[in-house]
């Protein structure tokens, strides 16, 4: 009798397992939280050092166009403009293609065709960015050079390379959002006598709009943060782009070019950290935009 009472009153083996599981999960979450917070704090401290220690002005950093930290010129506007230029341009080219491919995969293609495309898209995601950069350097840059003149380096070459890189991201997320449109929407539309085309662009695309916009923003975030491939084709001249084929530099390309040539704790190094902070803030903004779209865009 006592034995049974004992067993019932004490936590069972399963309870112990439960607690242990909880402990491990919390530990992992805690570790990741500490990691993320320390990265944020670290970049923020270093990124602000230029303004606190070296006495530079934030307004100079954001709005001036002369970048030469070695000589105390810290205008980052050329990089900001170029980063947004390549990002917007590549997303602009990639989105129609991505929507077309996604529509084909979800609405038209036979199962095998859709699967085949899926494999190709996954393959495109998996290709390392240095390879995109090499192809850009070997094919895109000379092509731009022969067609438009100049050196071939610039926003146009960068946007073309990024177009290929963000296409799979936008496509696969768009596919997900198209698949998430409830089946009865399609059925109801067809039952009302709408053609397939009318169903697609009046019902399916409308219902999937928040998802597609999210896909585009994710693609833009990837384009904005891409460093290596862009650095190889952008030309890396820290000046305001005069046109799409004049050499310029993005935030990321300036970082990868400069970091090996600067000394920790000096102004040129701190200036690079400020660029990194700017990148971090921008990616947070992209995330916020995604959240906003998800909340506001839903069909009611």
């Amino acid at each position: 009798m006592d034995e049974i009472k004992d067993r019932l009153l004490k936590p069972s083996k399963a309870t112990h397992e439960d607690q242990r599981g909880k402990f491990i999960s919390y530990l992992s979450i805690g570790l990741i939280a500490v990691l993320v917070i320390s990265i944020l704090v670290f970049i923020t401290i270093h990124g602000l050092a230029m303004f606190t220690q070296n006495g530079m002005k934030i307004s100079d950093f954001l709005f001036k166009t002369d970048w030469n930290p070695g000589k105390k010129l810290i205008g980052a506007l050329p990089m900001i403009v170029t980063s947004f230029g390549v990002t917007l341009l590549s997303a602009l080219i990639a989105t129609p293609f991505a929507i077309a491919v996604a529509l084909f995969m979800t609405e038209f293609a036979p199962k095998r065709g859709a699967k085949f495309l899926q494999v190709i898209i996954e393959l495109l995601v998996g290709i390392p960015s240095v390879i995109y950069g090499l192809i850009g350097l070997a094919i895109v840059v000379p092509a731009v050079r022969t067609i438009y003149g100049g050196t071939g380096f610039g926003i146009l070459a960068g946007a073309i390379v990024l177009f290929v890189m963000v296409l799979p991201t936008i496509t696969s997320l768009t596919v997900d959002s198209l698949k998430a449109v409830p089946r009865h929407y399609r059925q109801a539309s067809l039952a009302l006598g709408a053609t397939r085309w009318q169903t697609i662009y009046k019902v399916i695309l409308r219902a999937a709009t928040p998802g597609i916009l999210t896909a585009v923003v994710f693609g833009m975030a990837r384009a904005f943060g891409e460093a290596l491939a862009v650095q190889m084709v952008i030309g890396n001249a820290a000046m305001l782009p005069q046109n799409l084929t004049s050499p310029s530099a993005t935030l990321t390309s300036q970082l990868t070019m400069g970091i090996g040539n600067t000394i920790m704790g000096t102004l040129p190094n701190n200036a690079l950290w400020s660029l990194a902070l700017l990148l971090l803030i921008m990616s947070l903004v992209f995330n916020l935009v995604v959240k906003l779209i998800a909340r506001k865009g839903r069909i009611k």
Binding site: T151, A237, A249, T256
Partner: protein, 285 residues
């Protein structure tokens, strides 16, 4: 549950393993880590390979990262050797008191142009005017009627510091596109019409035209007598209290064995062949 336990324990094991490795390399003196200049990297890598063949107890890791990385890593003591194309005192922010300079080779740097410009010789003044933006067309210096496209190396790159110190005379270069290695510059100059840039001697090939300055040709012989002025030392910086195996390896790189064979084979100039020497302020002795 089991899976999680396995995962966690394997992670812990991995952590212990990594920690073990790093603490070992800190205490075990026969493991050398060398970082820095990409211009010097091929020589040090090759020398390290040969050295390890002869001394099986030593393991040497050679990494690039740039002269800046090399200098900052050695000045805070986190590596065995920091490679640099420039004197530590030429770079602000490096604590030169803690480190020792070892010059291991000399590199000549030459301006190069795309062959279609039709230019084979420039005066020092013309070269300066091109990089400061006063001359913008090749026909102003006796070439074809074609716009000049300047390709620079990244700010702070050793090659660029050396080039600007010897050519620009304190003036600053106009803004132009920047590339981060000799190799990319070589490819770009050969494929872009009207392009001018500068590379170390070993990167000159038949597709790009090396330019003489004031009718002096960019050759090793001219560097040795300082008739050709654009050259720099390759430095291997160590800490003042470097351990025995670090000193031994640096000594090996400076020995005749390396200087007479590898250094020449890889396109550098041996220190002993130099008839002049330069200090950090670019003064010739």
């Amino acid at each position: 549950m089991k899976k999680i336990l396995i995962l966690v324990s394997s992670l812990l094991l991995a952590g212990v393993f990594i920690a073990g490795c790093s603490s070992k390399s800190a205490s075990d003196s026969s493991k050398l880590t060398i970082v820095g200049s990409t211009a010097l990297q091929p020589l040090v890598e090759q020398a390290a390979n040969n050295y390890q063949d002869e001394n099986s107890g030593t393991s040497i890791t050679v990494q690039g990262g740039g002269s800046g990385t090399g200098l900052s890593q050695i000045s805070n003591g986190s590596v065995s050797v920091g490679n640099s194309d420039v004197f530590a005192s030429q770079v602000s922010g490096v604590n030169t008191k803690k480190i020792v300079d070892n010059k291991v080779a000399v590199v000549g740097i030459t301006p190069v142009v795309n062959p279609d410009t039709g230019v084979k010789n420039l005066t020092m003044q013309q070269l300066q005017d091109i990089f400061t933006g006063k001359i913008t067309n090749w026909n102003q210096v006796g070439g074809k009627d074609e716009e000049i496209t300047i390709i620079n190396r990244a700010k702070g790159s050793g090659t660029r510091i050396t080039f600007e110190q010897n050519v620009l005379d304190g003036k600053s270069a106009i803004k132009a596109q920047e590339q981060d290695s000799n190799g990319t510059v070589q490819k770009l100059v050969s494929s872009t019409s009207g392009a001018i840039s500068y590379v170390s001697f070993s990167y000159v090939n038949s597709k790009i035209q090396a330019v003489s300055i004031d009718n002096v040709k960019p050759t090793d012989a001219n560097v040795k007598t300082n008739a050709w002025k654009i050259w720099s030392y390759e430095h291997m910086y160590t800490t003042k209290n470097a351990d025995a195996s670090t000193k031994k390896f640096v000594k090996y790189v400076k020995s005749d064995k390396v200087q007479k064979t590898l250094v020449k084979k890889l396109g550098y100039i041996a220190i002993k062949d130099m008839k002049v020497s330069k200090d950090a302020n670019n003064q010739i002795k």
